[in-house]
Amino acid sequence: MTSQLQFVRLLQGPQTLGRGPLFWGATGVALLAAVAYPLLADGYTVGNTVYFFTWAFMALGLCVVWGYGGTLSFGQTAFFGLSGYTYGVLTLNFGAAYGFTLVALLASLVFSAAFAAVLGYFLYFGRISGVFLGIVTLSVTLVFERFMAQTAGPEWHIGIARLNGYNGMNGMPPLTLPWFGGSIVLFPDVGLYYLVLALLVLTYLGLRILVNSKFGNVLVAIRENPERAEMLGYDVRKYQLGAFVIGAVLAGLSGTLYTAWGQYITPSSMSITAAALPIVWVAVGGRGDLTATLIGTLAVLSAFQALTIYGSQYALVVMGVLLVTTVLIAPAGLIVTFAKFVARMRRGRKEPA
């Protein structure tokens, strides 16, 4: 009984908005709708929805690093690209048999985690903070982009995988599950949809538990007042590094799923435009809350794609305006601000002043 209570407290603890039967009922309905969706839509549209979902992991990771941990990383796309390229190089070389794509997926995440651990060590243990952390992480993703962009020549290859410069790599196999009587190839339609949806639900719930755990409490404490957190006996640097690695793994997961989805990855996925977009998604919904980040990211991505029909530059300008408007009107994010407003209204009705 006590352990059940503890579990519920972790799922809907103080660090996350959304609790009670109404919230979980709505979440259940949304999940049912998401599960039923492929039955109602055609394969292409389902594949397109998977595309939206793949980005959500990077956004949730940034939410943990920035919204909960208080350090703005401008370079989550570095891990996106690193994992994407790792998946490409491994699967082009070793193929998809015997479930190797899953090994490649895991290896791509380990790569990003290891790189983030080294980079994060120098950042956090070197006491680099604030805007400088943003500048360093942005520089890293831009260095990656520039480096990969100049790998067009035939001498740039790893095994049989050509890096192909600005055109990027393509032709890597999609995720393939080994199964009795033949593998299941997850082309970007219903199969991949359910896998990515399941991963997204697990990530979302897992992160809710994480931010409401002891680790999450300390992370939020560091965001609020790092000196006080240290003077409560917490090694601030370790917690920040932990959050950074988690954010990197999730950005890497986005990159690998994206690469497996489209069977290509290019250096532009690590460009300054690509690096700025996750910040817009997370800031607009509300960086301080996982649910707001998730809903905001999917909403902004859908709007962005709808706008690109009228021209991609035009859509980017709208993204910029959206970010500036959010920062000026509702710095905590549109969804978070709205949710707090609704909560105040409901409290106000219950206990009239």
């Binding site: 006590t2 503890q6 103080p14 002891k214 409490n217 300390v218 939020v220 404490a221 609020e224 007042n225 000196e227 006080r228 957190a229 240290e230 003077m231 409560l232 006996g233 917490y234 090694d235 601030v236």
Partner: protein, 238 residues
């Protein structure tokens, strides 16, 4: 036995000597007040003891262990705790959560909840436990931070102007809180300007002036010392 000892502690920023050859010994179980005019080096001495500044020379011994090279969080884990002058609380979290984050070091589940309740009651904060810490009154913020500091069950508690900005009633209540803690075995070192508070709690007083220990004694001895009055009035520089 001394719980804390500084030996020849020096700190200079460029040519400015903020603390000079400070030898301070704190007896286990005492309440010791550190007074002195502005710029005497009290806050710097605190920051040296806490590891926020590295001394230019000299050493710090805590419970028989040399801790001069340890990081702040390592000193805290050895049983030190601090309440800052400007309340260092987590403003966007509830008062109760502030305490929980401090308590989760050594407690969890039901016993953590019970201890949080007990502390809120002890600090007269039961009514406002659910409120955001940033919305508390100044005095309540000070108490909340004392609560966070004692949540760690420290052996040595450092208080930097614990009554700054408090009304006389609040100051008195704070003094009683400090005395209760001390009766429970906590050694206390406090920087304080409010002489009524010092008189209420302290057995020994150290006067710092221009980074050096100027004199030590009971509150009555120190107050009776004409030289101490002189430095407070600004005549003691000669």
């Amino acid at each position: 036995m001394s719980i804390l000892e500084t030996r020849g502690l020096n700190k200079h920023f460029g040519g400015l000597h903020v603390t000079a050859d400070v030898d301070l010994a704190l007896e286990e179980g005492e309440i010791h007040c550190l007074i002195g005019p502005n710029g005497a080096g009290k806050s710097t001495l605190f920051r040296l003891i806490l590891g926020e500044h590295t001394p230019s020379s000299g050493s710090i011994i805590y419970a028989g262990e040399e801790i001069t090279a340890l990081k702040s969080f390592q000193r805290i884990r050895r049983g030190m705790s601090v309440k800052f002058q400007v309340p260092g609380i987590f403003k966007a979290l509830s008062a109760r959560q502030n305490l929980e984050i401090a308590l989760q070091h050594h407690l969890e589940g039901g016993s953590l909840n019970a201890e949080a309740d007990r502390l809120l009651a002890f600090l007269n904060l039961s009514e406002v436990g659910a409120q955001l810490a940033g919305n508390l009154s100044h005095g309540q913020k000070q108490w909340l931070e004392i609560g966070m500091a004692i949540s760690l069950k420290p052996k040595l508690l450092l208080l930097d102007e614990p009554t700054a900005g408090m009304s006389p009633t609040e100051t008195y209540a704070t003094g009683e809180i400090v005395k209760t803690l001390n009766a429970g075995g906590v050694t206390i070192l406090a920087v304080e300007h409010d002489m009524s508070f010092v008189r209420q709690v302290a057995r020994r007083v150290t006067v710092l002036h221009l980074g050096r220990i100027f004199t030590q004694g009971t509150i009555d001895e120190v107050v009776a010392d004409e030289r101490v009055a002189a430095i407070y009035l600004g005549h003691g520089h000669a």
